[in-house]
Symmetry: C2
Subunit: 371 residues, 2 copies
C-alpha cells in the first residue's frame, strides 16, 4: 500500500464476497428474495460481486442513485425512500428503462405520480414498525385505503401504479444488543405486518412483505414470513455492528488507511490525516460510555489485524482525527506511518470517497457520483 498518500477506504474483496454469499444463502433458505441496499457501497464493481452471487434486484436510497445503477446495467431497482414528487421527471425516465419500485406513503404522492408518470411502476406502502422515521402507522387503514384507491383510479393508463406490498425498515434494531432482543423486535414487526397482509390479501393476493436492516437480517434466524430482504451494511459491516454483536471483526470488509501526521506521547495521542470529511461524524459508544469514531488496526499486505485494544479515534474535526492509545502503541508511531481504522459506520464512510481501494485486486474501484 505504498502508493496510499491520503485517507483511503480499503476493501477486502474476499471478506465482502463471503458476507454477500452468506446473506444470499440465508435469504434463499428463507425463500426470500435478497434485494441488497446499494447505498452502502455505491460502487458498480461491488455491484458485480452481488451479480455473481445471483442477485438481480437491488435497493437504493435516491432517484439519482437509481439512475447511476441503472446506467451500470441494473434493471430492477427499489428506491427505498418516500417518493420525491419533485423528481417525477427522473422517475419517469427510470420507469421507462427499468422495473422501478417506489414507496408511496400518502394519497397526495399517489395523485402527483399518477399525473406525472407515463410508465408503470410498482409501489410499496411503507409501514412504521417502531423506528419512527418514514412509514405509516400500522393501523392507518384510512390512509392506506386512500393510497390504494388513488392507485386504482388511473385515468390515463391501467396499472400505472401497481401495488406490490408493504415495506418496513426496522432500524430500531440498531438499539438492540442481544439476539433475544432483536428476535423479539422482529416478532413485534411481524405482529404489525401480518395483520396488514391478511387485511389486504383478498384484494391483492400477491402482496409482498419486504424488510431489511442489517442487525435483523443477519441475526434473526427465522425470516420465512418476509418475501424480500433489503439490508446493505452487512456487505462491509463496521464497528457499530461489531459493537452490537452483529458481526465479528473478521467480517468487517472496509478499513480506512490514514497517515500519521503528529505524535504526542505526553497525552497518549496521535493526530492522523483522517477526519469528518473521510469518516463522517457518526460514532458508537464504547463499553465505558466514551465515543469512538473508529478503531485502530495494523495494516498488512493483504488486509489488517484484529482491532488494537484501547486504541480508537476519540475525536474528529474536518480533516484531523485524534487517536487515543496506550503508551506502548503511541510510542511506536511515527509521522508518515499508515494506520488502519475500522470506521464507526461504513455506509457514511464509503459515501465520502470518490473511490474504494480493493486490496485484494490492487485496483481502485470508482464510486458513483451523485450530482
Amino acid at each position: 500500500m505504498k502508493h496510499i498518500k491520503h485517507p483511503t477506504p480499503l476493501i477486502n474483496q474476499s471478506i465482502c464476497q463471503a458476507n454477500i454469499r452468506r446473506m444470499a444463502e440465508k435469504a434463499h433458505l428463507n425463500s426470500a428474495a435478497l434485494r441488497p441496499h446499494f447505498k452502502t457501497h455505491q460502487s458498480a464493481a461491488v455491484g458485480d460481486w452481488y451479480r455473481q452471487a445471483g442477485i438481480s434486484g437491488i435497493t437504493v436510497s435516491s432517484a439519482r442513485m437509481a439512475k447511476a445503477f441503472a446506467e451500470a446495467g441494473w434493471k430492477n431497482i427499489t428506491i427505498a425512500f418516500p417518493a420525491n414528487i419533485l423528481e417525477a421527471e427522473l422517475l419517469n425516465e427510470l420507469a421507462a428503462a427499468i422495473e422501478l419500485r417506489l414507496f408511496i406513503n400518502s394519497p397526495e404522492t399517489a395523485r402527483a405520480l399518477k399525473e406525472q408518470l407515463q410508465h408503470p411502476v410498482k409501489f410499496y406502502i411503507e409501514i412504521d414498525t417502531g423506528q419512527r422515521r418514514s412509514g405509516l402507522h400500522p393501523e392507518a387503514y384510512a390512509t392506506i385505503d386512500a393510497i390504494l384507491a388513488e392507485a386504482r383510479l388511473e385515468a390515463r393508463q391501467s396499472e400505472l401504479l401497481h401495488f406490490h406490498g408493504f415495506y418496513t425498515h426496522p432500524g430500531h434494531s440498531y438499539a438492540t444488543q442481544t439476539l433475544a432482543q432483536v428476535t423479539a423486535l422482529y416478532e413485534d414487526v411481524l405482529s404489525y405486518l401480518l395483520p396488514l397482509k391478511e387485511r389486504y390479501a383478498p384484494q391483492y393476493p400477491d402482496l409482498k412483505l419486504s424488510a431489511g436492516d442489517t442487525p435483523g437480517s443477519v441475526r434473526v434466524e427465522d425470516l420465512q414470513e418476509f418475501d424480500e430482504l433489503t439490508p446493505g451494511n452487512f456487505a462491509f459491516f463496521d464497528m457499530q455492528q461489531l459493537h452490537k454483536g452483529v458481526c465479528s471483526w473478521q467480517d468487517i470488509a472496509l478499513a480506512m488507511a490514514c497517515p500519521v501526521v503528529d505524535v504526542y506521547p505526553d497525552r497518549n495521542e496521535a493526530i492522523i490525516y483522517g477526519g469528518a470529511v473521510h469518516f463522517s461524524k457518526d460514532f458508537y459508544l464504547q463499553s465505558d460510555g466514551s465515543q469512538s469514531f473508529g478503531q485502530l488496526v495494523w495494516l498488512q499486505d493483504s488486509g489488517w489485524s484484529k482491532p488494537v485494544e484501547g486504541a480508537y479515534l476519540k475525536a474528529l474535526s474536518q480533516e484531523h482525527g485524534v487517536l487515543s492509545a496506550p503508551d506502548e502503541i503511541i510510542n511506536e508511531l511515527r509521522p508518515g506511518q499508515l494506520l488502519g481504522f475500522l470506521p464507526a459506520h461504513s455506509c457514511l464512510t464509503a459515501n465520502l470517497s470518490p473511490s474504494l481501494y480493493n486490496i485484494s485486486s490492487k485496483n481502485s474501484l470508482q464510486t458513483i457520483a451523485i450530482l
Copy 2:
C-alpha cells in the same frame, strides 16, 4: 427556486460578502493579515468574493485542497494541518508554483521534508493552546528547538524551510458561550504565545503569531497581538455559531433547500429528503438539551425567513431527515414542498455538495473536487 428537486445548499451572496467585508475590516483595524480558511466553502467563486475584498493569502486544510485553489489562481496558501510527509511530492509541486506555508510539528517531519523538497516553503510550528488537537505544548522548547535546528541544517539549499512563526487554532472557543468567556480564552491563548514570541524573537525577529477560529475572530475585540487571522466559518456561519451567540440569524449565508416527502401530523413530524450525506452528522444542543441537525426557515424568492421556532431536524439517517415541529407548522406541510434549513455546521454541509446554488445570481457554483 422551482428548478430545485433535491437537497441543495443555497448561498446568499450579499450576506456572505457582508460577512467577508466585516472580517476584512476587523483584521485591518487590528493590523492583522486575514488569511481566510477556504475549507468552509471549497468554491472558487466564493474565493473570488474574498479577492474582491483584497485578500491574497488563504488557508486550506489539505495539500489536495491547496492544489485545487492553486489551480484557481491563488498564489499564497497555508495548509493549516500538520504536514503529511507522504504527500511530499505534491507539496514539492505546490512549492514550485506558489508561496506555500506548512505546519511542521516534529523534527522527524522537518527532516523528511528537507530531504524531499526541492523548493522553499515557509513553515509554522503549531502550538496547542488548549484545544488538544494538533500542536505542541507551549513549553515544548526542546522539540521546538529541534525543529528549528533541523530547518537550519539544510544540506542542499539554504532557506528551504523558512520558519515563519507560531500558529494556534483555539478551537476550544467552540465550548464558550459568552463574550467574557471567549475573551478570557484569548487572553489565555496569548499567555502561551507571547512568551514563545519573546523567547524566539532574538533569533527570528520577524516571527509571526497566527490564529483564527471563528468564535474568537468574530467576538474578541482586541486582536492586535496577532499578525494573521485564519477563520473560515464566518463567511457562512451556521446554527452552531448562532447558538453560541457568535452571529445573528441574519448573518447566516447558507441554507439547505430540501423537499418534503412525507407528513405525519399524528407525531408532529415530517420526513424531508435531506440526510447525513447532505448535512453531515454534526449537530448542536438546543436550550433544552435536545440535539438539532438544522433549523427550519421558510424559503423566499431571494432568501429565507428567520428561524421557525420549535421546528428543527431531530434525527438524520443517510438520506432521511426527521423534522419535528408544532402542530400549526406540520399541518400546513405537503409532499413536494421545498423547505429551508440552517445547518448545524456549514463547513461540513458545503463539503458534501458538488455545487452551491447562489440565490442572488441564480447560478450554480461548483465546489472543488478533492480526488
